[in-house]
């Protein structure tokens, strides 16, 4: 039995130490957002944030996570109070099938938490580990830029218009 802190809540988890975090999130804690895509760390669909950093949960075993703080898409906002990045993806309609989207949003969130004004090049480079098969990339990039502006606005409500991109 180990303790895992997910989205601010502590969970007692009974899983073998080699179990990847992804399965614990989906099965034990019953969260939907992190997805199984490859199990090989090649596509990014399983991405969550651990202690502020984007992590591929399909190749991160539980043994490495004792005492760490895990954040999933569910932890960013609620249906009634969506987080800026969730609002941004909705406003840009940045999904087709959407299977890859939660992972991409988590890496973008981690980026924006440490760099609130990333350049387009930085966003593209940061999202390199992620695959989207529907070809929604243009909207995803627009949504990350929009999220940066929304977070800016939320942080400093005086700059209502955010930045030009």
């Amino acid at each position: 039995m180990m303790t895992l802190k997910v989205n601010g809540r502590e969970h007692q988890v009974d899983a073998d130490p080699d179990t990847p975090l992804l399965y614990v999130l989906r099965e034990d804690i019953k969260l939907n957002a992190a997805k199984f895509g490859c199990g090989l760390g090649q596509c990014g669909a399983c991405t969550v944030i651990v202690d502020g950093k984007a992590v591929l949960s399909c190749v991160t075993p539980m043994v490495l996570l004792d005492g760490k703080q895990v954040t999933t898409l569910e932890g960013l906002g609620t249906a009634s109070q969506p987080a800026p990045i969730q609002r941004a993806f909705m406003e840009e309609q940045a999904a087709q099938c959407g299977y890859c989207i939660a992972g991409i949003m988590m890496r973008a969130q981690a980026l924006l938490q440490r760099n609130s004004r990333p350049t387009d090049e930085q966003i593209r480079s940061e999202l390199e580990p992620h695959l989207c098969r529907c070809g929604t990339h243009m909207r995803i990039l627009r949504a990350v830029h929009r999220a940066a502006r929304l977070m800016d606005t939320a942080d400093a409500s005086s700059t209502a218009n955010g930045r030009a991109r």
């Binding site: 899983a15 073998d16 179990t19 990847p20 399965y23 989906r26 099965e27 019953k30 969260l31 939907n32 957002a33 997805k35 199984f36 895509g37 490859c38 199990g39 090989l40 090649q42 596509c43 669909a45 999933t72 898409l73 569910e74 906002g77 609620t78 249906a79 969506p82 969730q86 993806f89 909705m90 309609q93 940045a94 999904a95 087709q96 099938c97 959407g98 299977y99 890859c100 989207i101 939660a102 949003m105 593209r124 480079s125 999202l127 390199e128 992620h130 695959l131 989207c132 098969r133 529907c134 070809g135 929604t136 990339h137 243009m138 909207r139 990039l141």
Partner: protein, 744 residues
């Protein structure tokens, strides 16, 4: 069921209760047997032809709640939202007040497969007409109750309104089986000028759950008592399981059962990761006998053109032996390519009291049910398939196979819901690929630089091995008493399969098109977005550019010289204008401009794409810098949804065109993950993609989900040729091939 009976509406309104009930029963029976509902009246719009009862599409409760039904499946293309708009518009109710229910063998019409960009044309048209006719019936009912002429009444916000302001809500007006009547051939559709919901970019209804972690996919299903299964697939096509000691695996933690049926091998465990560990142990214990039976990957041209083929001339105009002054010949090839869904295929199945329920992301719940029922030797009425969204499929991927896997395993564990998800390697190795193709073109120019004659030969497998029978599904093929793979058939024109879009839309005076249909399928193949149109349009539109160079004519002007179709001309002109295309233009250093056009299937949406590509001459690396598209898909329902589809088509087609081919040795598929089957990553995403819509108010919906695939490929190929001066004719147009062409 007997010949169709058109129920007289006035008799219905006057109360034909007993009659209605009997029809109601026959309708339900027809649905249970899996046949398309009887009574095809040929003139009915869209899928009303096969499911003519209005209440197969629209049902209204006494409390006024409205549910719209479609036999099509939401695959991430966004049509569920579009249908909700169409129904809200024609029923005169608020968009939010409706619910749309999609493909379910117990609840919805049998609309076959969600494929071929046909959802808007078939199902959207049916919903539109059914909703309009339902509204008419409600007005007629109100007129008879109020003793007022029909013409004096109107509708708003879910109610019929009389001149004195009296309102009768739809809920109040609905009685008996008022909507259980056959549709009429024509409907009083709304004037497009008065549309309030159609034509608006309403946000998609499914995106909210997808960006907040709601349960949005079959992968997210968690039923009480659910167990997790994994399949151990053979290492190669035709491999035989000669030995497998399952005893050790059965003792592993959490393992519930090992299921073996001939070459079908699976393991079930309480928890998901336990099932994966057990799968690995089972795979290690299994001994297979393999056969080397795959062709040479590097010589697909020779392989495909030497396999036995059924050859037919599918189009002939003028004299096939005619010839102009300057003649050009070229051969184009396409490799096997993968759908490559990001989420491997998944299904949940449960057998309760002899009834099997399967939750699946199949594109065709009815045909898939037929296959599963046959495999399980159960009556179709005892099998229910419910569509639940999965990861985008782009055609026939592993969805149907996963549904078959789940049902076969669930049969061995009565009562327990069984969830199966494929592993990445299984999806890559076992999905049915988009078929490899070869095209040979020959044409000549007359003295005025116009095309005098045109010859087009295409070699291809079928482009659909979708279920209908059990033999199309891996589990059924691998059982101890296997079902044979059905004989492949070419898909009939005008839509076609390998010959889709092989017939030129241009007005060439002499033209001949020959289809070489290859029955033998060395690799497992089936439908992939746009089918043969991807390669045929790539070939035609590349070759047109080669001819334009020969004729010393601007490529856009050259196309317009040969195109009479006015809507086609309009999208070409719109794309060229917005791109800034100019005759005699010269691209910046190491860059090229390209153009291409097609009307999908020659009967669906029109699409023209101009692109700018940069080529690194040192490395050969190509990069799509920007693309500008124009599209005409008839009456537009949701402009942003349409733009999203075309943007996605361009980006996906770019990935196919520049990077992708399935690899294999003489025995096994060797492209089994994203390292060995690389696709587009964010570093190569274009700087911009613009999509311009030509709306056609009141015109029929034209499917658009696949219209961009071919033009995007050819537009990029033409831009690469423009940038390098070298023509590449073998897909994919890789960095290596471009470098070799530059250095040659």
């Amino acid at each position: 069921m007997n010949a169709p009976v058109n129920i007289d509406r006035r008799r219905v309104l006057a109360g034909g209760g007993a009659l209605i009930v009997s029809f109601s029963l026959s309708g339900a029976l027809a649905q249970q047997q899996g046949a398309p509902a009887a009574a095809p009246a040929p003139s009915l719009p869209g899928s009303l032809k096969t499911s003519p009862y209005l209440d197969a599409w629209v049902r209204i409760d006494a409390n006024g709640s409205i549910e719209v039904f479609t036999g099509k499946a939401e695959l991430g293309q966004g049509f569920k939202t579009a249908f909700q708009q169409i129904a809200a518009e024609e029923l005169d109710v608020a968009f939010e007040s409706l619910k749309v229910t999609t493909a379910d063998t117990r609840l919805t019409a049998n609309e076959g497969y969600t494929a071929g960009s046909n959802s808007m044309k078939d199902s959207g048209t049916a919903v539109q007409n059914a909703a309009a006719q339902a509204r008419e019936l409600l007005i007629a009912e109100a007129a008879s109750r109020l003793g007022l002429p029909v013409d004096s009444l109107w509708t708003a916000d879910g109610a019929v309104i009389a001149p004195d302001g009296k309102r009768l809500s739809y809920g109040e007006l609905v009685r008996d089986d008022i909507l259980h009547v056959q549709a009429q051939p024509t409907s009083k559709l709304k004037d497009p000028a008065t549309f309030r919901v159609i034509g608006r970019s309403v946000p998609r209804v499914d995106i909210f759950a997808k960006v907040t972690g709601g349960a949005a996919y079959v992968q997210d299903m968690r039923l009480p008592g659910m167990v997790h299964a994994r399949v151990v697939r053979p290492p190669s096509y035709g491999a035989q399981l000669i030995e497998c000691d399952t005893a050790a695996v059965e003792k592993l933690p959490g393992v519930v059962k090992v299921v073996r049926d001939g070459n079908f091998l699976a393991v079930v465990a309480d928890k998901e990761f336990q099932s994966i560990k057990a799968m690995n142990a089972l795979a290690a214990a299994a001994k297979w006998q393999e056969t080397a039976r795959l062709p040479k990957q590097d010589d697909l041209l020779a392989v495909l053109t030497s396999l036995p083929a059924q050859t037919s001339t599918i189009f002939e105009r003028g004299k096939s032996e005619a010839t102009g002054r300057k003649t050009l010949e070229a051969t184009y090839t396409r490799p096997y390519q993968a759908h490559g869904s990001i989420g491997p295929s998944c299904a949940v199945a449960q057998l309760i009291d002899g009834a099997m329920t399967v939750w699946t992301h199949t594109q065709g719940v009815f045909p898939d049910r037929q296959g599963i029922a046959e495999m399980l030797r159960m009556p179709p009425a005892s099998v229910r398939l419910i569509h639940v969204e999965g990861s985008g499929c782009y055609g026939h991927n592993g969805a149907d196979d996963a549904a078959a896997d789940a049902s076969l395993i669930a049969r061995a564990l009565p009562g327990r819901p069984v969830r199966v998800q494929w592993m990445r390697e299984q999806e890559h190795a076992w999905e049915p690929f988009g078929p490899a193709m070869v095209t040979k073109l020959k044409a000549s120019l007359d003295s005025k630089g116009k095309i005098a004659d045109w010859h087009f030969d295409v070699w291809s497998n079928t482009h659909s091995m979708r279920p209908g029978g059990a033999g199309s599904m891996l589990a059924a093929q691998h059982m101890a008493q296997p079902f044979a793979v059905p004989a492949p058939r070419p898909l009939p024109l005008p839509e076609g399969g390998g010959d889709r879009n092989a017939i030129p839309i241009y007005a060439f005076p002499n033209a001949q098109v020959v289809h070489h249909f290859i029955p033998a399928m060395p690799l497992r193949i089936s439908a992939m977005r746009a089918l043969g149109a991807y390669h045929n349009v790539f070939s035609i539109e590349s070759f047109l550019d080669e001819l334009a160079v020969l004729a010393d004519t601007d490529p856009v002007e050259f196309r317009l010289k040969h195109l009479e179709d006015q809507r086609g001309r309009a999208v070409i002109e719109k794309a060229a204008l917005n791109f800034g295309w100019k005759s005699g233009q010269k691209a910046p250093q190491d860059r090229g401009f390209g153009f291409a056009f097609a009307r999908y299937k020659n009967l669906a949406a029109y699409c023209a794409i101009a692109s700018e590509v940069e080529v690194n001459r040192e490395t050969g690396r190509p990069r799509l810098v920007r693309a500008v598209a124009a599209v005409d898909s008839g009456q537009v329902v949701n402009p942003d949804g349409l733009i999203n589809q075309i943007e996605g088509a361009i980006v996906q087609s770019m990935s196919w065109t520049l990077y992708e081919s399935v690899t294999f040795d003489d025995t096994r598929i060797t492209s089994i993950d994203w390292q060995t089957y690389p696709i587009l990553r964010f570093d190569a995403v274009p700087e911009s993609i613009e999509v311009h819509i030509i709306d056609r108010p009141g015109q029929p919906f034209l499917g658009s989900g696949e219209t961009g695939q071919g033009p995007a490929a050819a537009s990029i190929a033409n831009a690469i040729a423009n940038a390098t001066g070298k023509r590449l004719r073998n897909l994919p147009l890789t960095r290596k091939r471009i470098k070799e062409a530059i250095d040659a």
